[in-house]
């Protein structure tokens, strides 16, 4: 910007509502004639900051300066700035002309000057000839423009825009983005724009302020924010990216997935843990062995302009169990119209602490029903000689009517698959099911995980689960009695790549990228 004069200064702004801290000491300078965007998810405090500047809220602590003057004590109507509200807030009792003229009428500007200025605004926003229209006769986009004109006609130094495009449809939103940028360049004043839409921010801003939970994460130009995000949060919020943990081995040398890579970042401590961002469009797919990493193509999605390819370079943790498909008669009994069913199951000797009847019913998937009334019946009693010792035990489920079924419990010492390097543990049990149960399942992947009691977790924190994927090699429609392997696995290292060249799913490929494509960031919450 040609004019670098600081216009607005926020100094240590704090605000909380009902004990909930919204702003944690915001410091921010905004220059004259800048298009500044406050960007962040809902609840990050961006609108609160804007409303403090507009005068609709007062801060609990800190100062706001405009042109070097502290303005906290001024009511909104004495501040030299105007706001475009989220839902426009046009006055329904006035037509387009009177809405735009409102601020000038308050200032007692003479009628002929009001007319000149309002007409000029109508030309600026492209709504000439609409001055006599009622507000309710306008479309959302037109109301939006009137709201902008109503604010701009007062020739403020600063225009505040509170998610003004949120209520518009996608096409109109794109149009208004260009429109707003054009208006800002034409009138040459400071725009402060609040949005949660990263694309809007990148398109329009001179400066983006990324916020999270009441704190500023990064301030910079769109290019800076995109190419050099300061942490994984900013990288994830702006554009799509591959974010992976690594260690800074030395200046310009970073290690991830047990390989060292040259990069262009320096100034970190030796062996400092960092986050690494590689943008999907910065990775090229090359023949296997020709790139810096090798992997298998997991999926290819056509996205119009390009393909989004997922390549797995390091496999995840796998556990394979046996699924026994038993005959219908083996797991079901009936007594006229009353039916009872249940399956034999495996149990880990370590999981038996405090096990209750309802857990056993769930593990056996024991059910009882009446086929005439289609009514579910409850299991009245569970009898078992189960002990906390490896071995085979019997369990009998009985309905109210006395119909019972007896199955076996295999108590075993289950080995979990542990991957210390990836900090992952995965376990699953063999299980018994009938053909019908497979075919009646509406969400087979989820049911398989439940039946096998498949679980993934972080080795250093058992409460932190890891989502599992499941693969099997049978057709649920035509399955017959027998034993089938089912594999549960965690995702390995995956890279998202944007490319214009098609690659085949399942093929081996190499991934190539340069040292400048690796962006090293400090870990969030890491203090050096």
């Amino acid at each position: 910007m040609e004019n670098e004069k600081t216009l607005i200064q926020f100094r240590n702004i704090q605000k909380s509502f009902d004990d909930q801290i919204i702003l944690k000491g915001i410091n921010l300078d905004i220059n004259q004639n800048e298009f500044v965007t406050l960007l962040g998810p809902s609840g990050c405090g961006k609108t609160t900051l804007l409303r403090i500047l507009g005068g609709f809220l007062s801060q609990d602590g800190g100062e706001v300066y405009i042109d070097g003057k502290e303005i906290s004590s001024l009511p909104p109507y004495k501040r030299e700035l105007n706001t475009v509200f989220q839902k426009y807030a046009l006055f329904p009792n006035m037509n387009v002309y009177e809405n735009i003229a409102f601020g000038l009428r308050i200032k007692k500007v003479s009628n002929d000057i009001i007319e000149q200025k309002v007409m000029r605004m109508l030309r600026l926003i492209g709504l000439e000839g609409y001055e006599k229209r009622e507000i309710t006769q306008l479309s959302g986009g037109q109301q939006q423009r009137v709201a902008i004109a109503r604010a701009l006609v007062n020739e403020p130094d600063v225009l505040l825009l509170d998610e003004p495009l949120g209520a518009l449809d996608l096409k109109l939103r794109k149009e208004m983005q260009y429109e707003l940028k054009r208006i800002q360049q034409e009138v040459g004043i400071t725009f402060i724009f609040v949005t949660h839409d990263q694309e809007e921010a990148l398109t329009m801003s001179d400066k983006i302020v990324v916020m999270k939970e009441g704190e500023i994460q990064q301030v910079g130009t769109p290019v800076e924010i995109y190419n050099e995000p300061v942490n994984a949060y900013v990288a994830r919020f702006i554009g799509e990216s591959n974010i992976l943990p690594g260690i800074m081995v030395d200046d310009e040398l970073v290690r991830f997935d047990e390989q060292d890579f040259k990069c262009v970042d320096k100034g970190f401590k030796k062996d400092q843990p960092v986050d690494i961002v590689i943008r999907p469009e910065d990775i090229d797919i090359v023949p296997a062995g020709k790139g810096k990493l090798n992997g298998t193509v997991e999926s290819v999605l056509f996205k119009g302009m390009l393909y989004e390819v997922i390549v797995e370079t390091v496999p995840g943790t796998h556990v394979t169990v046996n699924m026994h498909i038993t005959s219908e008669t083996a797991n079901q009994k009936d007594d006229g119209h009353i039916h009872i069913s249940g399956n034999s199951f495996y149990l880990d000797v370590d999981d038996m602490e405090g096990i209750q009847d309802k857990d056993l019913i769930a593990r056996a998937d024991a059910q009882a029903w009446n086929d005439e009334t289609d009514e579910q019946l409850s299991i009245e009693s569970v009898e078992t000689n189960l002990e906390k010792k490896i071995g085979t035990y019997e369990i009998t489920f009985t309905t109210v009517g006395g119909l019972s079924i007896t199955k076996t419990i295999q108590v075993i010492d289950q080995q979990t698959v542990r991957d210390e390097k990836r900090n992952e543990g995965v376990s699953a049990f063999n299980f018994f099911k009938s053909k019908d149960e497979i075919q009646e399942s509406v969400a087979l992947d989820t049911d398989l995980k439940t039946w096998a009691n498949a679980q993934g977790w972080r080795l250093n924190n058992e409460d932190q689960g890891i989502p599992l994927d499941v693969t099997y090699d049978f057709d649920p429609e035509t399955i017959t009695e027998g034993v089938y392997p089912v594999t549960f696995w965690t995702k390995g290292r995956e890279f998202k790549i944007h490319t214009t060249d098609y690659v085949k799913e399942g093929s081996r490929v190499g991934l190539a990228f340069g040292p400048e494509d690796i962006h090293v960031m400090e870990k969030e919450g890491y203090t050096s």
Binding site: G54, F56, Y77, N93, M94, E98, F102
Partner: protein, 278 residues
């Protein structure tokens, strides 16, 4: 959809029968004179002639109009600030205030009006309080002021509730927008808040004025015999004198006057909002 609509027909017939028939009967009674026996009658406008040629009746009509207008104006002047103040309170306080305002309506209007006899009479609470300020032996009961107080007391809640609901329906960001555009709280009120609350004011006026002009037991109880209003005349004609034809004619005249006045109010509102825009 159409078949469902047909289900409404019996209600429509029943409703129009119950609503229209009594009104048509009143109009019918107003233009006839009874004959020698029950089955004979003749058309005549003599009831109307009698009303408009009798100075006393015209005076009572004028007095009723005057007191109804005074009641409405007072209700508006007291009700608007109260409604405005309530609408600026927190939601919890608002609910409580609305409850307090509707609370008296749970008690029969007649009983509450009787209570005012005690309050207003000499030696009652009001005269004691006035006595502290040096006004001794004030007896308001059976004066025009007493009738006015009783009317305002009874009809004020309707005004407050109507205006309050139109104020709370207003988008609060409109007030912020006006302030943002440089309007002081006073300017914001006159240019934005008040014009947008006019529909509430109009329905408040309607709900106060119409029952006020035809009220009969408030003037009867608080005005004693001295404050005869048109409602009392109609009541008398039907119940005491038994001249149903004359009573019906006065009712029709009253209905005409009310219709005329309400049309004028609505026209004035439309004209005002047009001037606002021009």
């Amino acid at each position: 959809m159409k078949t469902w609509r047909r289900l409404a027909i019996p209600y429509l017939i029943w409703g129009s029968f119950m609503l229209l028939l009594p009104m048509l009967l009143i109009v019918f009674y107003s233009v006839i004179q009874p004959g020698n026996d029950v089955a004979t009658f003749r058309f005549s406008l003599s009831s109307y002639v009698r009303f408009f040629t009798d100075r006393d009746f015209l005076l009572i009509l004028w007095r009723s109009l005057k007191i109804a207008i005074e009641t409405t104006v007072l209700c508006l002047l007291i009700g608007y600030p109260v409604a405005y103040w309530i609408s600026r309170c927190s939601q919890k306080t608002q609910n409580l205030m609305v409850l307090i305002i509707t609370l008296p309506m749970w008690i029969n209007m007649l009983v509450r009006t009787y209570a005012w006899i005690g309050i207003l009479s000499e030696g009652g609470p009001l005269s004691i309080v006035l006595g502290w300020f040096g006004f001794h032996n004030v007896d308001l009961l059976y004066t025009e002021a007493a009738v006015l107080i009783g009317m305002v007391y009874n009809f004020l809640p309707y005004m407050i509730l109507q205006i309050h609901s139109s104020l709370t329906k207003m988008d609060p960001s409109l007030i912020e927008a006006a302030s943002d555009l440089g309007a002081s709280p006073f300017q914001t009120f006159w240019r934005v808040v008040f014009p947008l609350s006019i529909p509430g004011v109009i329905s408040g006026i309607t709900l106060v004025f119409l029952p006020a002009i035809s009220a009969f037991f408030i003037p009867k109880l608080l005005g004693g015999g001295g404050w005869f209003l048109i409602g009392n005349v109609i009541e008398n004609q039907f119940i005491t004198v038994g001249e149903w034809n004359f009573g019906s004619a006065i009712s029709v005249i009253m209905a005409m006057v009310m219709m005329l006045l309400m049309t004028l109010v609505r026209k004035a509102d439309r004209k005002a909002s047009k001037e606002e825009k021009a």
